[in-house]
Amino acid sequence: MNRVLSVDIGSTWTKAALFDVASTVPTALRRTAVPTTQDDLAEGVARIARELLDLSPDAPLGHALQSTPLHACSSAKGGLAIAAVGIVPDLTARVARLAAASAGGRIAAHHSYRLGSREIAALESERPDIVLFCGGTDGGNETYVRANARALAGSSLAATILFAGNASMRDEVSEILRGKRLVVVANAMPEVGALDIEPARKAIREIYLESIVEGKGLARVQELCSADIRPTPLAVFDLMGTLASASREWSDTLLIDMGGATTDIYSNTTAFHGEEGWVLRGIREPALTRTVEGDLGLRVSARSAMQTGGEYIRRRIGAEEQAVRAWAERAARQTDILPSSPEEQLCDDLLAEACLSHAFLRHAGSVEEAYTAAGKVRVQKGKDLRGIKRIVASGGFLARRGNGGKAGGSPVLRALAAARAQLDERTGAASLLPETAEVLVDRQYLMPLLGNIAASHPGEAARIAAAALTGAAEGCDHA
């Protein structure tokens, strides 16, 4: 098996690459993209496979795919939409979001405490694929869990409900939700602050394959593949883990994927170091996590990004944010727009910086200094990103601008510097952001495509990534 085909089905474009995984220097041989065929996703996949394999448009694919296996991931048709439900915002509600995002989900909605009629109505109109239902430690809270199970039972939701809450409530929850499609797994927060999100992640993956792939029109794509289709963010998530195990230089890595609709951050680094004089409050996050920001994007989400990032832009350039606001409006209406003048480019750059800065602040934990009788103590909440050594910049905008334009200076580093300078208004807490990281730009947008092959070819994926990201893989043929 010398070559592997990898396909990433996006909502607008279906991207693919042909990898050589047999030679001493594994490479991305060719890369191309075709518009996603919304009516039949498999049609676009077959077309792109034929193109990369130099087959005629009506040549049968089956035989070719036996010698060149195909791997695919998809974010088409809304991706994997997960609603995250928990109790306390800083505990199980947060864990539910973390688990959903780390399973490659798009957080369609999130709720804490009791699901009332408003929340249920909102969930019903959002129509998630999965409701990740958390709450209570094992042997802990029953009241909210019972109330929320009843609320979900009384809803018209067709989603699979995944219960990853208080283990003592399993029987009762199963009984209340007997009319729904229900999957029960180990509690994602069995004890206060202690996480166990792997069972929920694994279940989400199984639910995706069993009951979501088909509904998303991916069944025929699956027939072409030699491995299970994954949601695109999961392919990237798994890639982060695989790269770190394949080579030490990939530990302490952060990856940003900024697109038109969301800004996603993945990081793989020790969340809390337990240094002398440091105390961790709240949950202890796993080393590998993903956050996804649905309000921070450069096209579909440009309006909300402007709303969130307006303050950042005002601080950066003074009073002239009107031009950026006008650009964001246009970008939200015309999502395939590209800047056509230096002024528009500046607006796009500023909007991107604002998205990056906020996404960094939300992914990172914080530290607050407190003076005690025994001296200074640092109270940490969330994840410590100070040890991050490399930042991979991926997605359309960052592929073009990740290293900065002619003016120089990566927007990633500018956004990072601005985020570092910002202290929490209420508590004075500083964010635990990367301090001396290098930025590597994914110019060919290979990350999800490498994620597809990482499980079967981890070492090769790491080597191709290293070559492509440091800019040494100029030989790649853009078909």
Partner: protein, 146 residues
């Protein structure tokens, strides 16, 4: 009977030795201890009590600023739906020497059910805690009121 208790040292106080002793002691006495350690805020105590369905919150304060740190604790519990939870506080609660009944009055006035001094007997505290939890259960009131 629900014997879950939340334990921690409140405020900018990093005295952890006593906290560990209390954790081991109450665990041995048959309580299910959710120990939050040191530097715990009021909301963190309450968050943990909600998720773990705790019957009681035991607040320690060793550095003399307990009055400031504990002010409004019961009110906050009520706001967040834990009207009936049993609240204990103990430690070096004020700076300097103050008569026991004065200190106790101050903290019961804030809504704590019992107040303990460093010299108090732990076995007695465990006995009282078990009795208070029993009484609460008999009264048929859950500490959890969403």
């Amino acid at each position: 009977m629900n014997r879950t208790i939340v334990l921690g040292v409140i405020g900018a106080d990093c005295h952890s030795v006593g906290n560990r002793i209390l954790d081991a002691f109450f665990t041995e006495k048959g309580f299910r201890v959710v120990n939050l350690g040191v530097m715990v805020s009021q909301d963190e105590f309450i968050d943990a009590a909600i998720e773990a369905n705790a019957a009681a919150i035991l607040v320690s304060s060793l550095y003399g600023h307990g009055e400031l740190d504990c002010a409004g604790f019961r009110d906050r519990c009520i706001e967040r739906g834990l009207e009936r939870i049993i609240l204990y506080v103990g430690g070096n609660l004020v700076v300097g020497k103050a008569p026991r009944n004065e200190v106790a009055a101050k903290f019961t006035g804030m809504g704590f059910d019992r107040v303990f001094m460093p010299s108090d007997d732990l076995d007695e505290a465990a006995r009282l805690l078990a009795a208070d939890i029993d009484a609460q259960a008999r009264a048929g009131r859950s500490s959890e009121r969403p």
